[in-house]
Amino acid sequence: MNFVFSKRAKITTLVLMALGVIGIIGGLNSHNPHDHGGQEFWSNLLVCGFYFFAIALGGLFFYALQYAAEVGWSSQLKRVFEGIFHRNIPAFSLVLVIVFIASTLHVNHIYHWMDPGTYSEFVIPATVEGEHSTYTDNAEATGAQVNLGIDKIIKNKRAYLNEGFWWARTLVYLGVFIWFGNWFRKKSIEEDALDGTTLHVKMFKRSAIFLALFAVFSSTLSWDWLMSIDTHWFSTMYGWYVFSGMWVTFMIFATIATLYLRDKGFLPKVNDSHIHDLGKWMFGISMLWSYLGLCQFLLIWYADIGEEVIYYQQRFENYGLPLIVMCIINFVVPFLVLMARDAKRNPVFLRLSGCLILIGHYVDVYLLVMPGTMHGHSHYSWWQPLMFLGFLGLFVYLMLNSFTKAAMVPVNHPFIDESEHHSI
């Protein structure tokens, strides 16, 4: 049975996207007196782009994990997972690439290290008023003076943080994710028409390879795209922290999507045990995120080394309230609400706490980006939530559209019988 994209759902997602367009226009015309050149707009685009990209990527990771770990119960839900990542990884890669191109062309100043003023030895001051100075490492260039504004720390990172290598990495990550996402989806649909387990075994092997690549890329991409915003700062935990955020937001999205599809009758064999298991993942990975976040904070706070604590100092000083509220939502809510067995089987509890935690993690990504790009000057105004809703609309639209393209419940999956008899 294929999913039918109802008129109502179509209109809702399109309205959300329209709101998003208004948000984007509002962002481009925003008047934050401290904001030069639309930095706030671009930072928000990065926040939204990364947030939804991360949900989709978390989906691909979890999907591969189900194959690699030979998981039975979730096999009925695999089309739900596919729908989440299949079109959204390429779509939100595009959003990220747009932000990155704008950064590279200096349309925005998200990545401070891309500014040649930070790493060039010499400067050729502008001769005409209003023009930009040019930077060079060539002492012989006409009019070259020693660049006094050089940032030694950034210059030392240049071997890793330079546009060429950084773009190469970015394109490899995105290329690998898109390729694997498409491959899994294609083979999964092929399997429906095939007998035997050859394809399943092939997917098992491929998923292990994907996970090995993901283990490295999930860390490096978070250094490249997010940690390098606070260019001086570093933390070895960072990559795993960002990864756990990806994973938990995906789990919530998958739970809410599964509940929706079950209500509409497209997943007839999904029972309370499946929902319970999804709820356990929401709970468990929320705890993992809290654990990683706490350890990172605790160790930096305890050692109190200037280069490291500055990261939290900036966040506490300028973003104290959202930071604390975010921690409460992302840790206390799942801890208290989802601890009990019955809560994890109750759609109302799952939906409410899920939506709340999704917002909490939006704030988390916001706090990963904004303090580094806007410092103390970001200003939360109407167009930012609209932009978020717009991308949410796009994400849900692509997901639901993907559901219509293949049978909602896979056939010939070797574990499908196990999944249908799942009972805990």
Binding site: E70, G72, K152, I153, N156, K157, Y160, T197, H200, A208, A212, A215, V216, S219, W223, H232, F234, S235, T236, M237, Y238, G239, W240, K280, M287, Y291, L292, C295, Q296, L298, L299, I300, Y302, A303, I305, E307, P414, F415, D417, E418, E420, H421, S423, I424
Partner: protein, 457 residues
């Protein structure tokens, strides 16, 4: 009703029945000890005695008999401590985390892995104890009132958190292990006829009757304990890592330490489980219950945790350069190229490179190869702690304080001795306790037993 897919390999081989499972597990308990067992316990007993002798010598003469000096103030003692605590992790992971994940293959290995956990944690706790010098005042580590004659403990110290973490961990693991044993003790009690055995197992089984009510409570308690034990898997080694990471010593202070220590602990724990079980299944004739598929699953856990550890090593190395902090970079360059480069090389080869060989199905299903690998990993994980501890300390900020660590026979004797004590305890366990969770195994016989699976399809 639960179903098991045809594609899954059977977990119990051969044509077993319920009563055969009981007989197989009880055979070593009711029979007389085998030649193998006698030889092994003699050897481990001698080594244990040697260890106890060294410990007494240490207590009599003092910590000066270790190779510590004013620069390297921590070496084998804490290395051994962390190594043993790490080994303990596999038991809890198998019994608690794999229970929550409904991994049925755990039933063949959980009992012995939990026993291993308990003995390993005992060995770990020994080291801070004997390090104190005045072991008769060991209770000072607990927050006791001043009237008791002690000083109030420092709650800011991760070493104190360790006391709490490890004692909680030990108690929960012990209770978890014992609860699981009760129905199996009762089965033995009902089978043996008279003599001291009957009395012993009657006492140990706490009046278990096997009524439905007992089983319901048993299952509830198991789940609750699994729920408590799962965060403990994380907390214990996270706090052990904080012994180092809260400091400002380059090479110690890094935020990835807690999860990376946890992963490393599970990694080394599984290696030790494999070392012990590969011998035990042979000596005790348990090949039908612990077979290639179990070993393969454990090897997959080893690839995963080993690779996580590998990613962490590379992350640390990379960030030490990326940070631009001179001391941090130097600490890592010194690890890899300084006087202790060999220990770094052993660590990298044993922990990161060699587990990758398990990507080949042929190797991860070879029992001989797995056994050799498990020893390599045990060695590698000991060296990991040695690298972290000794190489980070031996070159102090002032070059005039630079020093090297040379172990003494007491360092070696105590470490080898703990291996002997550990093995002795484990062998006693294997002789008198049911080494497989026999009642739990019976629950999967009809869904995962080879003969039943064949009949089904």
């Amino acid at each position: 009703m639960q179903k098991e897919a045809a594609i899954r390999e059977p977990l119990i081989l051969g044509d077993k029945s319920y009563s055969q499972i009981t007989e197989d597990v009880m055979a070593p308990i009711v029979g007389s000890p085998t030649m193998w067992w006698k030889v092994l316990i003699t050897i481990s007993g001698i080594i244990a005695a040697w260890g106890v002798g060294n410990i007494l010598y240490l207590l009599g003469v003092g910590i000066g008999t270790w190779g510590l000096n004013k620069t390297v103030g921590w070496a084998w003692d804490i290395t051994n401590f962390v190594w043993w605590v790490g080994i303990g992790h596999a038991g809890t992971l198998i019994s608690a985390v794999l229970l929550l994940f409904r991994q049925k293959w755990r039933m063949a290995i959980n009992r012995s892995a939990e026993a291993m956990t308990i003995f390993a944690v005992m060995m770990a706790a020994l080291f801070p104890g004997i390090h104190m010098g005045r072991i008769w005042q060991a209770y000072w580590v607990f927050p006791l009132p001043n009237q008791f004659g002690s000083l109030w403990v420092n709650f800011n110290s991760p070493l104190l958190w360790d006391v709490f973490a490890i004692s909680t961990y030990f108690s929960v693991s012990l209770v978890f292990w014992y609860i699981g044993l009760i129905p199996d003790f009762a089965t033995i009690r009902d089978k043996v006829t008279g003599g001291w055995r009957k009395k012993l197992y009657t006492a140990l089984s706490f009046g278990w009757s096997g009524r439905a009510k007992h089983w319901t409570r048993f299952e509830e308690v198991s789940l609750v304990l699994a729920g408590i034990a799962t965060p403990l898997v994380f907390s214990v080694h996270s706090i052990v890592s904080m012994d180092f990471a809260t400091a400002v010593i380059p090479g110690w202070h890094t935020t990835i330490f807690p999860p990376y220590f946890v992963s490393g602990a599970v990694f080394s724990g599984f290696a030790m489980v494999l070392t012990l079980l590969l011998i035990m299944r042979k000596v005790m004739g348990l090949e039908a219950y612990i077979h290639t598929k179990h070993v393969e699953y454990m090897n997959i856990v080893i690839i995963v945790t080993g690779s996580i550890v590998g990613v962490a090593y590379i992350t640390e190395l990379f960030i030490s350069w990326y940070s631009g902090v001179e001391y941090e970079s130097y600490a890592f360059i010194n690890r890899a190229t300084g006087p202790y480069w060999w220990s770094y090389a052993i660590m990298m080869t044993c922990n990161v490179v060699s587990p990758q060989l398990f990507w080949f199905k042929k190797l991860r299903t070879s029992l001989m190869f797995t056994f050799i690998m498990s020893l390599i990993i045990n060695l590698g994980m000991w060296y990991e702690r040695y690298v972290i501890i000794v190489t980070s300390l031996h070159r102090d900020y002032l070059p005039s304080s630079w020093s090297e660590f040379h172990s003494t026979f007491v360092d070696l004797g105590i470490f080898i001795g703990t291996l002997g004590i550990f093995m002795t305890l484990f062998l006693l366990f294997a002789r008198f306790f049911p080494v497989l969770a026999l009642n739990e195994l019976k629950t999967i016989l009809k869904s995962s037993g080879e003969n039943f699976k064949k009949a089904d399809h």
